[in-house]
Symmetry: C2
Subunit: 193 residues, 2 copies
DNA sequence: AAGGAGAATTGACATTTGTTAAGAATGTGT
DNA sequence: ACACATTCTTAACAAATGTCAATTCTCCTT
């Protein structure tokens, strides 16, 4: 269960965490299983945990008069949480739920802080995570303002093809900011090319 | 010139930086003046500096076959840089230039690191900056995928009305991901309401 | 102050995307 | 395995946004 986290830490820092340190890390995390559709976070709650996905798939979305808008999708080795709510302890405007049955590792902000402060490798991991996240968001903004729906879909096919296997099309459409009908049409059009 | 930076540090950390510490901080920064349209960063270059805007306005944009796509706008007390290029030393795909004559304070990543490591107040400032930036980007993504062009404009009017005073409409349109013509129509429609 | 460049507006039309509704296909739980 | 849910597709139409071209407006530069 924890092995995936160890691999993640080593991979994104290019150095090896010691067994002793990793033991301390694992003690800060709590394993949890979510069944499909189970909520990890509901609108109005404070997001107390950050979740490292060991197995499964999750999504983060707002719900505005019946319409779901997916701001983020995650699978194995991704972190899920509403960072704003998690760091500032404010009520979240988002929902996060399991798209598939999931095994995740949960950690609170309070348990994370001492790890970051005492272990350079963890501080480094967080820095890298934040950086990657920030770069990905910037790219998504750029795509949203500069590309057509079709080009955004093509970009997703290129950069995260695995999402198309793991998430139903209506969620992919929402993630791209279009309706399921539009995505269906776009796919049809691309198929003939 | 440096006073704006001192105020910024104090404001976003709710504690006061000492004169001695601030002296060290100012030594890490270099003041620079940009005239309107002058480039701070051009596509293909590495973004060596982060710029704290003391006076003036700047924009960050990509240029894809003649079309400018503005990913970020900044005025007094904002930071401008391509964070990806700045932190990873990779060539940037963006341009940053002065929309008005600007006075800015420049700092390299190498000069920033020791400040962050030796002064908790600076580390805190960076954390707060990153957090605010990250929250703003998340909101922008959410707006892009869930709102119409009109609603995105209304949101901008509410959250950053000063931008409408400082940037020409074609830049506002680009920032919102629409054409200047569309923005003009939206404004006309709203005026009659 | 005049001339010129850039910026904003407007209109006609094209294209993209959304909406609604229906049916087909697929998947899921018991 | 069955029945029910959900998901996906399709079509016709509506609405939003883009494109192109012409005109007016604004403001900079000299």
């Amino acid at each position: 269960m924890y092995e995936a986290l160890r691999i993640y830490i080593n991979k994104y820092t290019s150095s090896e965490i010691s067994d002793a340190d990793f033991e301390i890390v694992t003690n800060a995390f709590t394993p949890k299983h979510f069944i499909k559709r189970q909520f990890f976070l509901q609108e109005g709650e404070v997001c107390k945990y950050s979740a490292f996905i060991v197995k499964g798939a999750m999504r983060q979305y707002s719900l505005v008069n019946g319409v779901e808008n997916i701001v983020s999708l995650g699978i194995e080795n991704w972190w899920m949480s509403d960072r704003e709510s998690y760091a500032m302890l404010t009520p979240s405007q988002y929902n996060i739920d399991a798209v598939e049955d999931c095994d995740v590792l949960l950690v609170t902000y309070e348990k994370m802080v001492p790890l970051v402060e005492s272990m350079p490798i963890i501080a480094r991991m967080i820095t890298m995570m934040d950086q990657r996240h920030s770069i990905a968001m910037q790219k998504r903004i750029h795509n949203a303002i500069s590309l057509t729906a079709e080009d955004r879909f093509l970009d997703l096919m290129k950069t995260n093809p695995v999402f198309l296997q793991r998430f139903p099309q209506n969620m992919i459409a929402s993630y791209l900011g279009i309706t399921p009908e539009s995505l269906s049409r776009i796919r049809k059009k691309l198929a003939t090319k």
